[in-house]
């Protein structure tokens, strides 16, 4: 979650007021998800939070790297304020990880046989009828070649 801004906090860099409404909307949606936590397993309940976190990070990443619509200063400030996940973005910059859903899916230490999550497997490598749903964040497949 982004840091709380108080009266002592420095003014955000130029261009923040243009993306602020969208970030506020993300914040509202996150609050809404947290308030309406449904029934089900822990992972099922946390999946929408993971997805929204991914969406917000992707929004900032695209604005800076793809559209080049925000300044480096603003981008660094957003990362510092935890509006986007810097570690996840660092992975997106690497070949093969462009669509990575969350960092837990590439943690080999967490799995029994030292493998990554099923959602990292390309659709072409899976069986025809096999439908995958990641246990960490509900991802349906985030291989770069899909």
């Amino acid at each position: 979650m982004p840091r709380l801004r108080t009266s002592r906090t420095k003014r955000p860099p130029d261009g923040f007021d243009e993306i602020e409404p969208t970030l506020i909307e993300f914040q509202d949606r996150m609050r809404q998800i947290e308030n309406t936590m449904g029934k089900g397993t822990k992972t099922e309940m946390l999946a929408p939070i993971f997805q929204l976190h991914h969406q917000r990070s992707r929004y900032i990443y695209d604005l800076y790297y793809k559209r080049e619509a925000i300044s480096t200063e603003l981008y660094n400030w957003l990362l510092k304020q935890n509006y986007a996940d810097g570690n996840l973005i660092a992975k997106w910059k690497k070949p093969g990880y462009e669509k990575l859903c969350c960092l837990r899916c590439i943690q080999t230490a967490e799995s029994k046989f030292g493998s990554t999550c099923i959602c990292r497997v390309p659709k072409s490598k899976l069986d025809k009828d096999q439908r995958v749903r990641c246990t960490h964040c509900g991802c349906n497949g985030c291989a770069s070649c899909d």
């Binding site: 243009e18 409404p21 909307e25 509202d28 992707r58 604005l63 439908r131």
Partner: protein
């Protein structure tokens, strides 16, 4: 021969007790030697040997010194025999015990194997059950995805609902003849592709304004139409469905990152235009001054 003689009990051979006197020994010897004499038993090849053994027994028992030595040796032999018998019994019981233990061990092994087989069967059953469950879950997921696909096909291509992409336009009744479908299309098609244009038909004389609804194909084009300067003859332009948040973007759960980016870019462009206009105004004001 001597070794054979050692193994034979002389008292038994003569048929007397251990505490027999010399006379008894002599009598017994006479009796048995007559019985086993080779001349008396011509058909028995072992008769001579037996007779010789009787002679040895008599000689050993009649002499006091020899008898003492023989008795002590015999006693030692008997004691050893008893000991061996006791030992054999002990060994037998040990062997029996060992056999019993072995049997128990093999029984337990068999029991373990049976248990393992039972466990494996249980595991197999569980695996089959879990495989069935997985198959069911996959089928359910597939069905859900197919349903969502069907729903997507049924619904329009844009993820954002029509209400959110619609704007409401008003103009004064006196321009009712001039502002028509073609006029609205010519103005608003510059912002993006129009999906639909609906104009209010029955205009009563009491009403001051005429209304129209324009549905855009993308949210960004609707957004740009709202924020652009209103054309002449148009009184005002508003969202058909007022936004929930303080931003001018409709909050939709299905709004993609691309939509958000488009909106942000639009905001930036508008801000840039505003700055340019301000600069122009400043420039004109300085020129006038």
């Amino acid at each position: 021969m001597a070794s054979e003689g050692d193994s034979i009990d002389y008292y038994e051979l003569l048929g007397i007790n251990e505490d027999a006197q010399d006379q008894e020994i002599h009598r017994a010897w006479r009796k048995t030697s007559l019985k086993y004499h080779p001349d008396k038993n011509p058909n028995d090849p072992k008769a001579a040997e037996k007779f010789h053994m009787l002679q040895l027994a008599y000689n050993a028992l009649i002499d006091v010194q020899l008898r003492k030595a023989y008795d002590s040796e015999r006693f030692a032999k008997l004691a050893r025999k008893r000991r061996e018998e006791a030992f054999n019994f002990q060994r037998k019981s040990m062997v029996d015990d060992l056999r019993e233990r072995e049997r128990q061990f093999y029984d337990s092994l068999e029991k373990k194997e049976n248990e393992r087989d039972r466990l494996q069967e249980k595991l197999r059953a569980l695996q089959e059950e879990s495989a069935n469950l997985r198959r069911q879950r996959e089928n359910r997921l597939r069905e859900e995805q197919e349903q969502s696909k069907r729903r997507k096909q049924e619904t329009p291509s844009s993820k954002i609902s029509e209400l959110d992409r619609s704007i409401r336009i008003r103009w004064k009744r006196k321009y009712a003849d001039q502002v028509n479908d073609a006029y609205l299309r010519s103005i608003y098609s510059s912002f993006g592709t129009l999906q639909n244009v609906v104009i209010q038909k029955d205009i009563s004389k009491e009403k001051k304004y005429v209304y129209s609804i324009i549905v855009f194909e993308t949210l960004s084009s609707a957004y740009s139409a709202i924020n652009a300067e209103k054309p002449s003859k148009i009184y005002d332009v508003q969202w058909l469905k007022p936004p929930k948040s303080n931003s001018n973007t409709p909050t939709e759960k299905d709004t993609t990152v691309e939509d958000y980016e488009e909106i942000t870019i639009m905001r930036m462009k508008q801000k840039h235009k505003q700055k340019q206009k301000e600069n122009e105004r400043k420039a004109t004001s300085t020129m006038n001054a």
